[in-house]
Symmetry: D2
Subunit: 365 residues, 4 copies
């Protein structure tokens, strides 16, 4: 396979390029009988769409989704659900010298060496725009998981550049363009971003994701462990350079007496495991974090080479996110949701219906 399909039983095959006629995906394996319409999907797309604050790209893409198949009289039929999003912003005008040079930090160099050809319009296939169909597909998965098990997904930015954002409450996430769970930090974050834009530079971010009310028993040892699959899905998001589950890199300096979450009749004490043991969900919250690198497209000129290997300079104009991490929260949630959906079906296949979260799991904050 050429890597454009995500999942094993609940599969999402995407297509499209940033500035081509359309992007979209085919969702295969959705159980039949669930009510579904565009109204279930559009809100998730709107959460990640560009142009919603001055801190993200000012491109205007309505990202209106159309369901082409798989739904009859408002219910899923068990056949493939195709989602189509027409691109509005196709002005492929002049690519400048993009066709002949490689932007540092971008996929230009590698696509060209791999395929011998590349679509330079807005990054082509390697554009973060291609996360839109995935977010759309995940809306279907989220709906099913919620209806079956009450599973929900939350995410927030926990660091912007070198500014840590202490967690206050999930309620605050929706009220600011940073997906920060801390309203008091917003002025500082805005100031930071404004300075960055002025400097023509970009920065990274750290995003945390939590899945709650996850059934116990999801995940396939030995290789398709739930944490391995989540790592795959999250590392596959554009610009991600690191993934942690539970205590993550902090576990290196932990002792065994400290790390291993004890069990009591009331549930687990602590969640260093991030809700996964031996690759299988424990029923606790699943917690993951990702590191997102600074946007590669910056206004400051950078040394590079052209196809002939000659030195040149690249300067990216156009409308780019100075921190791609800002819009990454709904994408990270989407990825985790798709993995859980896939494993819910895989569990049903081999072990029969999954058990809804058991009462012996202790309440978690």
């Amino acid at each position: 396979m050429s890597g454009n399909t995500l999942g094993t039983l609940f599969t999402v095959t995407t297509f499209g390029e940033s500035h081509g006629p359309a992007i979209g995906c085919v969702i295969d394996g959705c159980p039949p009988g669930m009510t579904l319409s565009e109204a279930d999907i559009q809100p998730e797309l709107d959460r990640r769409k560009p142009g919603t604050s001055r801190h993200v790209t000012q491109r205007q893409e309505p990202d209106t989704v159309e369901i082409l198949s798989g739904v009859f009289e408002g219910k899923t039929t068990g056949t493939p659900i195709a989602l189509l999003i027409r691109n509005q912003d196709q002005r492929s005008k002049d690519y400048g010298n993009l066709l002949d040079t490689f932007r540092p930090g971008h996929a230009d160099y590698t696509y060209w060496h791999k395929y011998g050809i590349r679509d330079p319009r807005g990054g082509g296939r390697s554009s973060a725009r291609l996360t839109a169909p995935v977010v759309g597909a995940a809306a279907v998965a989220k709906k099913w998981l919620f209806e079956q098990y009450g599973t929900t997904f939350k995410g927030c930015m926990s660091q912007l550049g070198d500014i840590a954002i202490p967690f206050e409450s999930w309620d605050q996430v929706r009220e600011n363009p940073f997906f920060a769970a801390n309203a008091t930090m917003i002025p500082q974050l805005e100031e930071y971003m404004d300075a960055l834009r002025k400097a023509g530079d970009s920065c990274g971010a750290r995003i945390d994701v939590v899945a709650q009310n996850v059934p116990v028993g999801l995940g396939e040892p030995i290789y398709d462990k739930l944490d391995a699959e989540i790592a795959y899905a999250l590392m596959g998001i554009n610009a991600v350079k690191g993934v942690e589950i539970g205590a993550g890199f902090k576990s290196v300096a932990q002792k065994g007496t400290e790390h291993g979450d004890a069990l009591t009749p009331e549930g687990f004490v602590g969640n260093n495991a991030g809700g996964i043991l031996g690759g299988i969900s424990t029923g606790q919250d699943i917690t993951a974090s990702i590191a997102i690198k600074p946007t590669s497209s910056i206004r400051s000129p950078r040394p590079s080479i052209d196809k002939a290997g000659q030195a040149t300079e690249v300067e990216t104009h156009g409308r780019h996110d100075p921190c791609v991490g800002i819009r990454a929260t709904p994408i990270a949630e989407a990825m985790v949701a798709l993995v859980l959906m896939d494993h819910a079906l895989r569990h049903r296949a081999q072990c029969g219906d999954v058990k809804v979260t058991t009462p012996q799991i202790a309440a978690q904050k």
Copy 2:
């Protein structure tokens, strides 16, 4: 699939449990015509086997590998290569109260909830012993990649518990049981481990892996990106809680002007990318790091519950690694090698033969 197969074109399907009759794997997709014998595989198995120093488990498992198929007169035939390792240490004697209780930090709880049954002998299928066939399979991949492209794999421990181990040289890795690239640190590491054993506790570790002479162009966007696949493979190793590619979590606090590796006619300047851009190898070194949690099996008694949900206490006797990270270096190398092998074949399928590392890549330390 139930998750026991790794890879898409170069697949490794493992079987076996820690204390069952045998463990092994079936390697499918190996190109024909490569010379291969047990002598190519056994040395890699010996690197990870237990009992080689006082700092790892004192279990004695010779891990002698037998090739059952796929080789005729010393050459691979293109048919499946089955590797068999008979277990020597099967004394399943008394499991103590293991059958009825769940060890904190272990897969006991989740296997039991998922399958309704579990093999308690030495952790059964969830034992780190199951990395042996993978290391064996990776020996085949390493040989092919080296013969085709000169690709090599190196790894070292860069942190033990809270002790950072500064990189000195690859030469020193083989000369100490910690896979540390720094001989002067060894006394400190030994002292730390001795204290840990005495305390009946365990600790975590950080491992770095590097692949060198990697052809440009490996990796499949959008989902089966090379970094996503490496993250999946590494997070799938027992006890791993975090994965980084290139600058990893450090990239969160980097600026775009700092992170994006500039290109010059002599090659890339820096390698924050870890050798991967847009999910495709650049031809630079591929660099990855993992966080390994402290061993869950410790002598100190821990609170837990039994199958009936009643409180109990668990104390693990037996021969366990006080730091599973110590033997993890060859396993991490193996995982990266298997991913590269798989993607080398995937590249050939869609794009024809891969290009060997281009001269325009700058020399890297």
Copy 3:
């Protein structure tokens, strides 16, 4: 997987229902650098489209294809190629009693039992209309195979109902609506069909397919044998009930001295093997035949039951092919082409580039 993806390396994922908004597919794995436009695909779609003679359904579906992705400036880029065909004939008006009854010979009964819901509009997902995207995808495969190896595909009807159609020449196939390789038979076939339509009945057909200039070495033993994959692909066409390779069922009564095609320095003597030995192509013509059952939708009333299990009668009105076999020839060619394309890529992955047909294969009629 839910079965909507065909192929392993050259994959075709279809979506859509007969009378929904659109049908289409995503082709993944197409090698980069091939010139491609709608003009390469539309002619194949036109060969199978309805309404081209009085012997097939009078539905008018222009089946105009749009390429949504994967092509830049007229060349394939190596990314997914999405094909979209908007449905023109969506009048879902009244389904009559179709929603509540099961048409004999149709998928109504099984879809309803499997999914608990079904789309009754024109057969929904089970409609033969869904072969259109496959034929479109196969046009891409045919083009690549021809450019690489000179491989071509031909097909004809060799039996209509109980009338055998002796092979005369491939030239005659395009000149009649039956895809018959024998012009002199046409009046008899037309008379037969006219009588059938008058009687409100339907009939079956036998179709032969040949692939020529096939490279030697395609096919993966043990399971994904080339003949097994062709059988899978052909049996998957709507209404197919039997598949033969080479001598097919005639080989039951053959002796070994008769069946096994001898080899001479000039090539094979005979082709009972149908161009495949041990599941791998020999370089000879690949020959396959299929049995297509009579159309299930007939005007004559048939006994059936409703969802409540009560006896009822079903009479199909509307515009149906009295012999679905008439339009099946391009579909059968398409299926064989997709299998060969997939295996050409699989061969490249494991064994490197395939050899073009060797000169030692004797000329075949």
Copy 4:
């Protein structure tokens, strides 16, 4: 994938060559909690093993199976079940001129062209001996299907060479070495085989398989239709050249009024469909037939070529089945069982637990 894995959710990955150290397979995806031991598997292997009558090869292979993993205290654990069969008959002595020549009708020519190397010992990987692990794996599938749904599998030879064998009763199948469902035909069949052996020739056979008590709803449209998957599995058996489902090739000459099985409150009237409509099981008996070509290894000398393309003559000595079809019945049953098992799990994944055969299906002979 290199084609050595059968199935999607219940996967069987085989390994081994005819005269190598061992053959075997890894079964992945078996549900946990089923009682299983070698005693469940060995009888199926014994049904296909050689040397049981004078009409089959006189090779003595006890084919003793060992379960290496996946079973704890007599129950499946949900982890991979590895089956190992050591080869007893490895005398690879002299291959005669086999290494340099190609036997007509054999895979010698194609393996050599594909891989550039081949294992000539007893046909190597292409030997029908490799059906043994598949039959072993199918014993596991049969047991599960029977326990869950009461599904059973039967098969018989319906034609030997040009002798049709009218069906009398299933009881008679076990009482003769031909798997003929007609005791009165046995003398004629024996006489035919004796003459064939004397002549140094071989013949083909036709085998029928029936699966009974199949749940309604198994099969995945559009591509992984149940009949398509059965065709794939059966065509993949060594020497098979044709596959029919239900009425098969007879449906070509049928009228729609005759072929489409009417539904009544008491069940279907007739079974031209072979128990499958639209690729999904109806709950009726699934019926399939295969054509097996005459054994290619015959004592009579045949013209052939050597690797240099020079004319030569090949004469096969050794112990070969004069009709490979004689031992094919249990293999054909096994293949159908594996397909149904796989689709039972696939059904559970997407649609939840399957319904056991509904009472409205009419009794079938």
